[in-house]
């Protein structure tokens, strides 16, 4: 057992820290740090800078632009990116469809899609959830019927994050409605969002933003070569993809930055005659979240050290569960810190209320999502109880 990073890992951490804080435009990092929503151009610009430096898809196979990093190096890469307020490479591209294509795609699909996916030349969105198939994904109803060299897709997807920016969708469809087990009749198809018959409708969220969508399919014709893997093997592919989704979902670096912000802002807010940074009740609350976060970070490091063969440790459910709760606790802290200032949520640039205080409540409301997506926390408890405790 040893606490310190090896000299190589320490140098790697320094290298990442320097790159992220000097090579990604300050204006983009300020947007993230101030809790404003990024434009599509900002996402694309950042990912291309990272990709040019080999830092967009380090977890992919080396052949397709990956680095042969240790799990610890990947962890450091992600944490330093979050600490530096750098927008992470688009998860739909780099954590979801990219690894899926590298694993299950045909050679043609790999050559066609992987370079463009890494460079965000193609923006992917996820077509998984449906109005009646959220956490219970296997009950999805969107159908794909084979007709010659094409599949005809009909149905509806929902919660399609950033679908308004997307060029292509990776979509789970039911190809065999008669399969004995619901999981067996599912396939994955890829198609452009501008294919005739695809309609996208924005869903406005509680914080006034538009980040998710409903997507409707009406007799959408998809060439059969856009099937990923075998027909009816979509469930295996989806499980592989969702396993990757949970990696990095603890977002420790991000929550750390929120707490550092909270400490700084607490010096500027006077309550009962003293700054909140000197109010024992408030500092205790920060200290408590900070300690939970320390325990979470150490748990993430233990999982990283134990993960082998690319298989997620079952304890990664702990990371999702606690990581999402702490993200929420930190956003709640910022709202409470802003107090009455938080009501100026939609004031424009002429307001005297600082930007962080205006963004606080919309972000707090938006962050209710983190205990729901990626397998809700109730699903994670079910996994822990079943897989780990054998209940």
């Amino acid at each position: 057992m040893r606490l310190q990073l090896s000299p190589e890992d320490e140098a790697f951490r320094e290298e990442m820290r320097t790159f992220f804080t000097t090579q990604v435009p300050q204006s983009i990092r300020d947007t993230v740090a101030n809790h404003r929503h990024l434009t599509k151009d900002q996402y694309v610009e950042t990912q291309r800078i990272l990709n040019a430096a080999g830092l967009a898809v380090p977890h992919w196979p080396v052949e397709w632009g990956g680095k042969d990093w240790t799990p610890l190096q990947r962890h450091i890469w992600r944490e330093e990116m979050q600490l530096a307020a750098v927008p992470e490479p688009l998860a739909f591209n780099t954590s979801m469809i990219g690894p899926v294509l590298a694993q299950f795609g045909s050679q043609e699909q790999k050559e066609e899609f992987l370079p463009k996916t890494a460079n965000l030349d193609i923006w992917w969105c996820q077509g998984f959830s449906e109005p009646d198939a959220g956490s219970d994904l296997a009950s999805l109803r969107t159908t794909a019927v084979r007709e010659g060299d094409e599949y005809i897709v009909n149905g509806q997807k929902t919660w399609t994050t950033l679908g308004q920016h997307a060029d292509w969708i990776f979509c789970l469809v039911r190809t065999d409605p008669t399969a004995e087990k619901r999981q067996r009749g599912i396939s994955m198809l890829l198609f452009p969002m501008d294919t005739p018959g695809v309609t996208i409708r924005p869903i406005e969220l509680l914080d006034g933003t538009h980040e998710v969508n409903e997507v409707f399919f009406e007799d959408v014709r998809v060439p059969a070569e856009n099937l990923v893997g075998e027909e009816n093997s979509g469930w295996t592919i989806a499980k592989f993809l969702l396993g990757n989704e949970r990696v990095g979902i603890a977002r420790v670096g991000h929550t750390k930055r929120l707490l550092a912000d909270a400490k700084e802002h607490a010096r500027t807010i006077v309550s009962n005659g003293t700054p909140l940074s000197e109010d024992p009740g408030f500092t205790a609350r920060i200290a408590e979240i900070e300690n939970e976060l320390l325990a979470l970070e150490l748990t993430a490091l233990r999982v990283v050290a134990n993960s082998s063969g690319g298989r997620p440790d079952p304890a990664s459910s702990v990371l999702k569960l606690r990581g999402s709760e702490l993200q929420q606790a930190a956003t709640e802290l910022l709202v409470d810190l802003a107090g009455p200032l938080s009501l100026a949520s939609y004031a424009d640039g002429g307001s005297d209320v600082p930007e962080w205080a205006r963004a606080a409540t919309p972000e707090y409301l938006n962050y209710r999502k983190v205990t729901i997506y990626g397998g809700s926390n109730e699903v994670q408890r079910t996994i822990i109880a079943g897989t780990i405790l054998g209940l």
Binding site: Q4, A266, E288, L298, L301, V318, R322, L389
Partner: protein, 382 residues
Amino acid sequence: MDFTYDDEQKALREAVSGLLARAYGDSEQRRRVTAADPGFDEKTWARLAEMGLLGLPFPEESGGMGAGPVEVAIVAEEIGRVIAPEPFVEAVVLTGGLIQAEGTAAQREGLIGGLAEGSLIPAFAHAEPGTRWTPTASGVKATEDGGTWRLTGVKEPVLGGARADVLIVSAVAGGGTRLFVVRGDADGLTRTGYRTHDGGRAAKVEFANTPAEPLGDAGADQSVAIDRAQAEARIAYAHEAMGAMQTALTTTTEYLKTRKQFGVTLNKFQALTFRAADMYVSLELARSIALWGSLVIDAGGDVVTAAERVRLQISKASRHIGKDAIQLHGGIGVTAEYSVGHYTSRLTAIDHVLGDGAWALSRLAADVDSYPTVDPLGAPYA
């Protein structure tokens, strides 16, 4: 960075676990042992000494094994796993740690040597009614007359105070806090022992002009050394609590799988399995921070604040797991015949020996504005 045990550490764990399984594999055995004074089994203590565990953290020139904090943690965790009543953390880590840190060469050789071979059990007489978890003394005064030091006042509760062969006593001397060695048969020493709720033993210890020998060369205030020794003991206790929490959770999940109500086993009720899942989350987070605490000692980092961080997390986890283990067992959880309640009792005792979560939180909160983020792998911890 490495969070795994090496082969020797695994072998140590196996050996300790084997010894303690023979002694306390049956929870009835612990009840019998704790029912009679001194509240632990002298034969088991002797076996721990034979294995070298009582001299584990001390250098060889003091009669020890020269092992590190991770080895101490391994032993403490195995002790906690069966809630063995032997005073490993109290005698070896806390009191022994103080003797090693502050004693003269002769004191180390005599006291640590005796501790390591199992012939001498020391106890730290520090707690006083009316104070809590401070590194200073106030109720016992030390005075010097013609080269002889004498102590007057009361210490209580002193864990293991009645059985101890030697007491290390903190006392006010010249405005500071100094440590003294008092032999169990010293004149003017009165010890009144009693049972603690977790089956242990404590005592009221009165000093009436009792002759005492300074621990180390007479001089400077020793409260910094006390703070440090308590911090290391806090981390060792965290591992003892880890072992106890692990058993409490395992016992609970086994119960949920076998106990039937309404015609089905309890694990068919999602409300119960979710509570067990939350216990597991608390346990894993606590384990990470406890391991980290031992590694901070090993790395020569800021042990005092690291121990506060460990204390806070372990306190929360202990209460959560201890209380829910009883709740999920139902009525049997609060009976003396069944083991799970004893685990909760022991966890509650550990929580209050050297500072609970609220105590740690208020110390951490006072500093929270002096740094932007906590880096567990960097300064001031590594």
